[in-house]
């Protein structure tokens, strides 16, 4: 045990000896101060850049959303206010009458609407 302690004490002394005379150079502090200034400038620039990115992102988002809304409105108006040409002139729809479903045929003509219903 004592031998172990003596051995460990030796290691400690040797490490102390290794660092004997090792001191920080005079310009180390200047280098640190310079790097801190640069890092702070960089951080400031990054902040500015990220703010720019945020503003551009929000603007782009707004444009996309408004474009999307406009396009959706247009599509809805197209689907509700238009129909494909029907060469038969008859439209068939299902209709509930008196508790049961029935087919209803609607014949379209240029001047009038002729409705034939069944069931």
């Amino acid at each position: 045990m004592r031998e172990q302690e003596a051995w460990e004490e030796k290691i400690k002394n040797v490490l102390d000896l290794e660092c004997d005379g090792v001191t920080a150079s005079r310009d180390l502090k200047d280098r640190i101060d310079r790097q801190i200034l640069e890092s702070q400038k960089e951080a400031g620039n990054k902040k500015k850049f990220s703010m720019k990115k945020l503003v551009i992102g929000v603007a782009a988002g707004c444009l996309l959303i408004s474009g999307g809304v406009f396009a959706t409105g247009h599509a809805v108006s197209l689907s509700t206010h238009s129909f494909l040409p029907n060469p038969t002139g008859v439209t068939v729809i299902w209709e509930k009458r008196k508790g049961s479903w029935a087919i209803r045929r609607i014949r379209w003509s240029r001047s009038q609407t002729d409705i034939n219903s069944r069931g």
């Binding site: 051995w7 460990e8 030796k10 290691i11 400690k12 002394n13 040797v14 490490l15 102390d16 000896l17 290794e18 660092c19 090792v22 001191t23 920080a24 150079s25 180390l28 502090k29 280098r31 640190i32 790097q35 801190i36 890092s39 951080a43």
Partner: protein
Amino acid sequence: MVRQLKEGDKTSFDLLYEKYKNMALHTAYLITGDLPGSEDIVQDTFVKVWLHCRELKDDGGFKAWMMQILVRTAYRSGKKKSRELPDEEIMQKADKGQHFSSMEQVIAREEAERIAGAVRALPIKQRTVVVLYYYQEYKVSEIAAMLGVMEGTVKSRLHTARKMLRGSLMSEPGMTVRELV
């Protein structure tokens, strides 16, 4: 002082630098074995301390927190760099041993150089633990927290380091520093 540092007081930073600069440099030097590289590590450490000091929760744990940054930076740097010392540095170290007066001093000096060489030859993981345990006199639990490993890992690294040191010193008795490094 740490509280003032967290508020952005540069004078407190300067005072803390003066207080810890040599301790930090010695630790980095012992881990990497490269003096100019150690100054770079100390520089990086203090810059990180200034930039991230607000993240420190416990003001009393400043030294341990700073050491954690230093050791991790040194560890990463040491892993990259070769363990070989520049020739001039070896010569400087060898020349230190020229100023002795008696035979006992010569023997003691040679033994110290052998141990130093053996420590320098340790792999970085073991060397870091040896430096923190023997030079900085940290507890195993503190070293584990610093390195972000389990206490058992630190104990195992210490055990391996001791074994390697003994092994390297016993296998090469009477070797001079120039032969060892």
